[in-house]
Symmetry: C2
Subunit: 153 residues, 2 copies
């Protein structure tokens, strides 16, 4: 069966922006591995999808699809905050990075973060940051990030 599909890591997985049909490819179920994520209706999903799309380059969600299974196995988002400081500069905020439990240890998270950080750089962000629990600190350090600040809730 597998001979019909590409077998190398590069060819079996597609890194791209979220599409509306990804709801049927397990996108919401993947987010459930990150935090509380109750099922939403197709209408609710479409409404949020369109809202985020209206932000253009200011909000991008990256997904990785396992092309053999037509399944989303990793995701993460970035939004671009516009400021007055730093000469009316912009900051990229990376959020909600998660890799499917079946696809861990394959650098998928690193690819997602790379995709999002590249997007932030291309939109002229002077800084890219993300918030994470201590548990994920080692992962983000592997992606080349350093701890800077703490987050209060």
């Amino acid at each position: 069966m597998e001979s019909n599909t590409a077998s190398s890591d590069e060819q079996s997985y597609q890194v791209r922006k979220l599409e509306i049909t990804d709801k049927n490819k397990g996108f919401m179920e993947l987010l459930q591995q990150l935090t509380v994520c109750d099922p939403v209706t197709d209408e609710e999903f479409q409404e949020r999808f369109e809202e985020l799309k209206s932000y253009g380059d200011d909000h991008v969600i990256c997904v990785i699809e396992d092309m053999n299974l037509s399944k989303i196995v990793a995701t993460g988002s970035v939004f671009v905050e516009k400021k007055f400081i730093r000469n009316c500069g912009k900051v990229g905020h990376i959020e909600d990075v998660v890799v499917d439990s079946s696809a861990r240890g394959m650098q998928q998270g690193k690819k997602v973060v790379g995709f999002l950080a590249d997007h932030a750089r291309l939109t002229d962000c002077y800084k890219v940051i993300f918030d994470c629990s201590d548990d994920y600190k080692a992962f983000y350090e592997k992606c080349g990030f350093k701890q800077k600040e703490i987050q209060m809730v």
Copy 2:
């Protein structure tokens, strides 16, 4: 002279949203007390102001004006991030809170954070967070926040 203007704390200071004329009331100079903030032209300021205004309730900048001096003495911003998790929930991010050195010790920072947190709650955010250096941890704890996560850059 002072008898012409209100003398109590409540009446001398106005807490409100940023207006375009605040550039002439020391808004950018105040931000310089926070971080690198080179002067910008009126056109650059207006462009960024309009961009942020187009986000409506999704991006709000709070200022406190000293009505006696027509001077902005405190500011902070909040942007509302829309997510798919938490039943298509929203998170408020508080950023760039600064109080003029001449106006510290008067709870102005607490008023700014309160204004921004109220805005986030009114727009149905399930969580309000902000990132800060360890130096400001005590201040935010006074505002009722707790440390949750760390931020990587």
